[in-house]
């Protein structure tokens, strides 16, 4: 077996690597100089279960291409996100299992010492593609070392009905929270209200409540992981959400992730937070009523709050490899191959823009612009913050999200179950349990 040698990100001076920048300066494109895969290498990949078959097929086709080129055997298994979490932990604990896992969010930060160092590869990919988005870097780096390669995000955007927005007196979607509240009030008056999940909906409820908390300057913990959620900023966010809640359709307190899809497609709501799935279903349906909804809907990124910058929360996909792998070179080479632009372009095209890019250089894929209604999903990682912002990622941030602390705080305040001040105070007590442990 080949020994693991230090890989370097080379700045090649060759003509093939020259890239002229807009400013006229010539910068050398980096070249990958990692060692070749070990002879007879065979690796196992456990990835998230596909929602779009064409996406999975493209992933498998890319993998086969890699195997054909290198002779490395790759077995790909797929499991649901919820199942990958415990399996990744067991693999870390027992030191055996898949070589590579493609999971979600902060999972790799629960066992950073068990993971293969991907620093050189990640820095190479970043340099080759104009740098990672800051939030992607946050999800990749632990203690100055890359332990995970961000794969992108199953992006969430505001899905809205154009006609109802116009009926509410808006020609274009508002960009700030003040205008957004007015729009929601107008939509309710127009007879087709907004609907945002406030039940234990992992993606949808966390998505809009975290955005709202951050938009007003609230956060669960500060940079040093001190609990700061009990703050005037949080109370302001809750007061604002309370006004939003009054415009929502009845029953959102019990909504789980699929609920808003159903309500939007049944023409009952005109605004919600969701991935691209509503649009895809409506557009591809044989039902003309759903086609009409697709024609009358569009997407927008979350509005900007008093804090003055975007504060989205997104479901980020993280890929990591275990240090126990017998074939670290094959693993790195496989990941490099799969993250290279030709493979990514093919995969994104087949997925119809399902995964928002973690690297801005991937944005030029025509899939993002062929249908302008898809474009907002392209940019979600540009606007996203990390879970547990602005503290570190790890088991505490994962536990706070897993326990729906922020969602419950919003639900309590919105329904009047508790005053915003009490809801923020009680949430702080819950968050402290995780960060003090």
């Amino acid at each position: 077996m080949l020994g693991i040698t230090r890989r370097r990100v080379l700045q090649s001076g060759g003509a093939a690597g020259l890239m002229l920048l807009p400013g006229g300066a010539a910068r050398a494109a980096p070249a990958w100089s990692g060692p070749a895969p070990e002879a007879g290498a065979s690796i196992r990949v456990l990835r998230w279960k596909q929602f779009i078959q064409a996406e999975f097929d493209a992933f498998v086709a890319n993998t086969k291409k890699f195997s054909d080129q290198t002779g490395v055997k790759v077995r790909v298994d797929a499991e649901s996100w919820d199942d990958i979490r415990p399996k990744s932990a067991v693999a870390a604990n027992v030191g055996a299992g898949p070589d590579i896992i493609m999971g979600t969010l902060d999972d790799p930060f629960k066992f950073p010492d068990k993971l293969l160092d991907l620093t050189d590869l990640a820095e190479y990919l970043g340099a080759a593609s104009g740098g990672w988005y800051p939030v992607a870097r946050k999800y990749g780096v632990h203690d100055k070392k890359w332990i995970s390669l961000p794969q992108g995000a199953t992006g969430g955007c505001l899905n809205y009905r154009i006609s109802t927005m116009r009926a509410a007196g808006f020609d274009e979607f508002p960009k700030d929270t003040a205008g957004y509240l007015k729009l929601c009030q107008g939509l309710k008056k127009a007879g087709k209200p907004p609907g945002f999940a406030l039940g234990h909906a992992t993606g949808d409820a966390n998505g809009w409540t975290q955005w709202c908390l951050w938009a007003f300057g609230g956060k669960t913990v500060d940079n040093n992981n001190n609990v700061v959620i009990d703050s005037p900023e949080t109370v302001a966010a809750l007061e604002y959400a309370k006004q939003l809640y009054q415009t929502y359709i009845d029953g959102v307190l019990s909504w789980l992730d699929p609920s808003n899809n159903k309500a939007f497609l049944a023409d009952q709501i005109s605004l919600t937070f969701n991935g691209i799935s509503i649009y895809t279903v409506a557009k591809n349906s044989p039902d003309p009523a759903l086609n009409a909804i697709a024609a009358d809907m569009d997407h927008a990124n979350m509005p900007i709050g008093p804090i003055g910058r975007p504060t989205e929360q997104q479901n980020i996909l993280s890929t990591y490899a275990y240090a126990y792998t017998k074939y670290p070179n094959a693993v790195r080479e496989y990941l490099r191959f799969m993250w290279e632009k030709p493979q990514i372009d093919y995969w994104e095209t087949q997925s119809n823009g399902y995964i928002a890019p973690p690297l801005p250089a991937w944005n030029d894929n025509p899939v993002w612009t062929a249908d302008p209604k898809v474009t907002p999903f392209r940019d979600v990682l540009k606007f996203a913050l990390d879970d547990g912002y602005s503290g570190g990622l790890g088991s505490a941030s994962a536990a706070v999200m897993g326990d729906f602390v922020v969602v419950d705080m919003f639900a309590e305040a919105c329904t009047g179950n508790k005053s915003p001040k009490d809801a923020a105070h009680d949430a702080a007590e819950r968050v402290k349990r995780y960060y003090s442990a």
Binding site: A92, L253, R433
Partner: protein, 318 residues
């Protein structure tokens, strides 16, 4: 011929050690022990060991990816200060008590009805069993639709009948949600109680009823002094199982509400899963599961003492 001589061996030719072993096998106690050894090993490996491991895990601060260290009762002390935990204990007890009582009352009523001479008796009994044989997740998803705030068939029907003018928010407020999940659990649990009690009813000799009737007993007295005492051992067993299954319910809640809204339907089993697997705090999740044990033990003791009432049945005092 020597080749055709009987193949038995004189006991004197068997080595002394083997003779001792054979004598031991003749001992009923030793043989009995050896025969139950596989069963004991099975129980130890597959029941006692995971249970012990669960208790041990509850006393550590293990997280996903970290084996953790022993912290004694640290998790329990921490949970004692957690308002969500106490809300969940309240939810679980309420869910178990109300659902079990309803399942018993309705199940017994159904069993008494099914015990009568009915046309299509076998067919009706098969139908009664349907909720029990339907996979829980499937029935939970059905209830999720039935309780949907926008698409509920119940609300739709009531609106069409002109009885209400707005969809019922079954799961959108804490108390509505609690009663709704209890109703789903009762629907699912009644067949088990009814069919088991029906089996018990059919073991009661008709001569007892005849004797009671001759003594002038009315319908209520026959039920109170014949049916109920004869049925009490079965009731004890079926209700123990029913209480255990209700207390540890997970699937219905997870599929219908995931513990929401605002943790109003979270049960100890769902909270344990959420903290251990979703939140990654294995030690705390195990501690929540451990905290269920006293309640479950109480249910088992109820069964134990309930079964003792057999003496009462046979004419002696309790």
């Amino acid at each position: 011929m020597a080749a055709n001589a009987p193949a038995y061996r004189d006991s004197r030719t068997i080595p002394a050690r083997r003779q001792r072993a054979l004598r031991l096998l003749d001992d009923r106690n030793v043989l009995g022990f050896l025969l139950i050894l596989p069963a004991v090993a099975f129980l130890l490996i597959f029941l006692a060991y995971p249970l012990g491991l669960g208790f041990w895990l509850g006393m550590t601060d293990a997280k996903i990816g970290e084996s953790g260290r022993f912290i004694g009762f640290g998790n329990f002390v921490s949970l004692a200060h957690d308002s969500v935990f106490w809300l969940v204990v309240f939810n679980t007890v309420l869910y178990t008590v109300v659902a079990s009582a309803l399942k018993f009352g309705l199940g017994l009523y159904l069993a008494l009805l099914l015990n009568r001479r009915l046309p299509f008796k076998a067919f009706i009994r098969a139908i009664v069993l349907l909720p029990f044989v339907t996979p829980t997740v499937l029935s939970a998803i059905a209830f999720w639709w039935i309780y949907d705030p926008q698409f509920s068939i119940i609300s739709w029907s009531l609106i069409k009948l002109g009885l209400i003018d707005k969809y019922i928010d079954f799961l959108g407020s804490p108390w509505n949600a609690r009663w709704s999940v209890i109703a789903a659990n009762v629907w699912r649990g009644i067949p088990f109680v009814a069919i088991t009690l029906l089996a018990g009813l059919q073991t009661i000799s008709p001569s007892l009823y005849e004797a009671a009737t001759l003594d002038g007993a009315g319908a209520w007295q026959r039920f109170r002094f014949v049916t109920l005492p004869m049925l009490s051992p079965i009731i004890a067993v079926v209700m123990t199982f029913s209480v255990l299954l209700t207390f540890t319910d997970f699937q219905l809640i997870y599929a219908i509400t995931r513990g929401g809204p605002i943790n109003a339907t979270h049960l100890m089993a769902t909270l344990s899963y959420e903290r251990a697997i979703t939140g990654g705090r294995l030690g705390e999740g195990a501690a929540i599961a451990d905290a269920m044990v006293p309640f479950l033990l109480a249910a088992i003791l109820f069964s134990y003492f309930g079964l003792q009432r057999r003496r009462w049945q046979q004419g002696s005092r309790d």
